[in-house]
């Protein structure tokens, strides 16, 4: 019996992780991606491996997902992670007030937390704002965005998944009843159109998810919400430095290689394919970043960029939940053969893949359990080393 064939549209975090999960569960997987791995939102995340602390007060579902997945990723893909933890620091009275709810939230979400005195925090991180009032140690981390996705993709390819990059989904192939039976793609390397058939299509296009579902007349409530990040030329800190308050603009300073990344903002847009970096947001990052790490005020900007988060459901910008959702469009729009996974965060990519693969298995009547929690990932370099 031949394996069921699943096409995944999009090779960002969810696409690559889902291909890994489905390949392990015995599916014949083809990933199509219009650019190269992670050319959209995934590549441009700031790279914070969330401990969940950021969401522990207002969005505990996300917070729990984060801490669980944080610990799993540290285990299965240590080669792309700076596992140095994070600090939440309070700089004013409002921060201290928030601290009460923060402690409660972290306890409720089983996020390990340790309050330390300002002097102790300054000893650990000499470059943070010396006027801090208190600090909490938390198991944040930093990951390399591209290489995180590549690690999943490499392992998937080793397990038989096929990757077709520079292959753009131009339309969905529908049967007479409006059900999805494949994808019409454009191979951008040869400028040829090809029809690819599949038993099921997974739409893992994140912020672009609406554009794909529209091709089948289905809908997903995705609200693309970009944010700006600015990178400075010095590694001021070893840990993720967070402002101890509800999520806001420029409240994270993250070490990465020789740099620090300050993020982020939140705004709305019309055109998804090109979002300019707004100068007023860059200025805001400088100001906010320097509140956490004063040295940033005198550092050289190395890069400015933005990424478009796929937020789902009701709520505007920051108030929207950061959790993910997987839609079986048979149930939501009576379109069979199409599953959409969107929302979420990089940190939860494996869980998103697990959920998606569960839905795929249920839809195709396949009995297979998820094992990705325990499978160490291959070296990211092996993605490029596999013959396709």
């Amino acid at each position: 019996m031949s394996k069921p064939h699943v096409i995944i549209i999009g090779a960002g975090f969810t696409g690559t992780a889902t291909s890994h999960d489905l390949a392990l569960r015995g599916f014949d997987v083809t990933v199509i991606e219009r650019g190269d791995i992670c050319n959209g939102t995934s590549g441009r995340t700031h790279g914070l491996l969330h401990s969940g602390g950021r969401y522990a007060v207002k969005d505990q579902e996300s917070a729990i997902e984060c801490i669980d997945e944080n610990l799993i990723l540290r285990k299965i893909v240590p080669q792309v992670i700076e596992p140095n933890g994070g600090l939440f620091i309070a700089l004013d009275e409002s921060d201290l007030e928030y601290g009460e709810a923060f402690i409660e939230g972290c306890e409720a979400c089983h996020i390990p937390l340790e309050e330390i005195k300002p002097e102790a925090a300054l000893k650990l991180e000499p470059n943070i704002n010396p006027r801090l009032l208190t600090a909490f140690l938390i198991p944040d981390g930093t990951f390399d965005p591209l290489r995180l996705a590549l690690s999943f993709a490499a392992t998937a390819r080793k397990n038989g998944a096929k990757y077709r990059t520079y292959t753009e989904a131009k339309g969905l192939l529908l049967d007479g009843q409006g059900n999805v039976v494949g994808v019409k793609v454009l191979d951008r390397r040869s400028n040829q159109s090809i029809d690819l058939r599949a038993d099921l299509v997974v739409n893992a296009t994140g912020a672009w998810a609406g554009e794909i579902t529209e091709m089948a007349g289905a809908k997903v409530p995705v609200k693309p919400t970009p944010g700006v990040m600015v990178v400075y030329d010095r590694r001021f800190v070893q840990r993720a430095i967070n402002r101890l308050n509800k999520p806001g603009d420029g409240d994270i300073v993250l070490p990465q290689r020789r740099m620090v990344v300050v993020g982020t903002t939140s705004f709305e847009i019309d055109d998804l394919d090109y979002v300019p970096v707004r100068e007023e947001h860059v200025k805001l990052m400088l100001q906010k970043g320097a509140e956490l790490v004063p040295g940033i005020a005198h550092a050289r900007v190395r890069g400015k960029y933005m990424a478009t988060r796929p937020l789902i459901g009701a709520g505007e910008g920051r108030s929207a939940a950061r959790t993910f959702k997987c839609y079986d469009h048979k149930e939501t729009d009576n379109v069979e053969g199409l599953v959409t996974i969107t929302g979420g965060k990089a940190t939860t990519l494996r869980a998103m893949a697990e959920k998606t693969a569960d839905v795929v298995c249920a839809r195709l009547g396949v009995q297979a359990a998820c094992v990705t929690k325990d499978v160490p990932l291959a070296s990211y370099r092996e993605y490029y080393m596999q013959p396709n």
């Binding site: 390397r189 490029y384 013959p387 396709n388």
Partner: protein
């Protein structure tokens, strides 16, 4: 279907010599090789010519008379220049190899080349005036 090659692009043996899109170090490398080839060629030519010495005074002095015209002297100057350029460039390579001035190899190269050019000028003036 996928035509991923996974092989490096073919190297071409003359690529080191192609100056387009190269920076200082690449030119230094090309200069070193060109002078190396020239000097090796001259070395063996020189050895052959010197065999005239063994044939006695007449043969050699006749040869010397032939090479004392300016064109031959200019040729000889080219050899001296090549040797000086290769030598000073070589000093850069030796120093950087053993960790001296690695971060300032460009400046080192320019400084050595200035010295080399001065040395060539001194030799040139000397050869054409004596």
């Amino acid at each position: 279907m996928d035509t991923r090659h996974n092989r490096p692009a073919p190297g071409r043996f003359w690529s080191w010599f192609f100056p387009v899109g190269r920076q200082t170090g690449g030119w230094a490398y090309a200069l070193n090789r060109i002078t190396a080839l020239g000097l090796t060629f001259y070395l063996f030519l020189h050895l052959i010519v010197l065999s005239l010495l063994a044939r006695g005074p007449e043969a050699y002095d006749r040869f010397l008379a032939l090479v004392s015209n300016p064109i031959w002297i200019f040729g000889e100057l080219l050899v001296v220049a090549a040797a000086i350029l290769h030598g000073f460039n070589g000093i850069r390579i030796v120093l950087t190899t053993f960790g001296v001035s690695v971060t300032r190899q460009k400046q080192l190269f320019y400084a050595l080349m200035v010295i080399a050019v001065i040395a060539i000028l001194i030799f040139g003036i000397h050869m054409f005036t004596v």
